[in-house]
């Protein structure tokens, strides 16, 4: 199997990373399905919000 052709943009990579980690943390730290879903969604939102926030915070220093 050749998987050497995966090209993800910055946001796509961040989104995939945030989704996978949120799912893993949600399943490991919560027991009931509804609590897992809430945790996954909240964690995913925080990952993205903080990531985009830090990105914009660095923008003035990028040049």
């Amino acid at each position: 199997m050749d998987v050497s052709a995966i090209h993800l943009g910055h946001f796509q990579a961040m989104l995939l990373f945030a989704l996978v980690i949120s799912v893993a943390f949600g399943f490991l730290s919560r027991r009931r399905p509804i609590e897992r879903i809430k945790y996954i969604l909240w964690s995913l939102f925080l990952f993205l919000a903080i990531g985009i926030g830090i990105g914009w915070a660095m923008y003035p220093f990028s040049r």
Binding site: V3, L8, V20, F27
Partner: protein, 179 residues
Amino acid sequence: MPSENNPNQMMGEQPDNASPSAAPSSAPVETLANAPNEISNAEKSFGGKSFGERPAGRQTQALAIAVAAWLVPGLGHALLKMWGRAVASFLTVAVLVVVGAGMRGNIFTSGGSDAFDTLGYIADLGAGCFYFLARSLERVGADVSHANGDYGTRFLATAGILNLLAALHAFEAARGHKA
């Protein structure tokens, strides 16, 4: 109140599909909350009980589950009949490794030249059998001259660390700690 003679209850093993509302009066939540007391009671009254109920036996069993969880992501939770966590651990580690290798991330080897290489090797090795899968998938070698390869390196390291976390979780669950 759960029976002391039930090793599953004393180990705090809970299938993921256990629902407190669907359970009889000895609800799983109540069992988990009382698990430490039950374990200490079992340790006090130890003698003539089966292997799994002995503190040393339980510790050995928990270590075996942790090693299994490290070698094959999700296997530790599967042995504890925590199916949801087993599937989630396996899939998340698998996705991170396949995508990380596909993005041509750096897979560290034991012959690292500095401390960062060694740390990277330890992190990568945390993925267990997926470490070797990643090496077989990445035939053309790493390319960290672009952001894609750099992200791939992080994906691979995260897969290993995540698997170590899941193995630790399975170890704690096997010891009877609330998980």
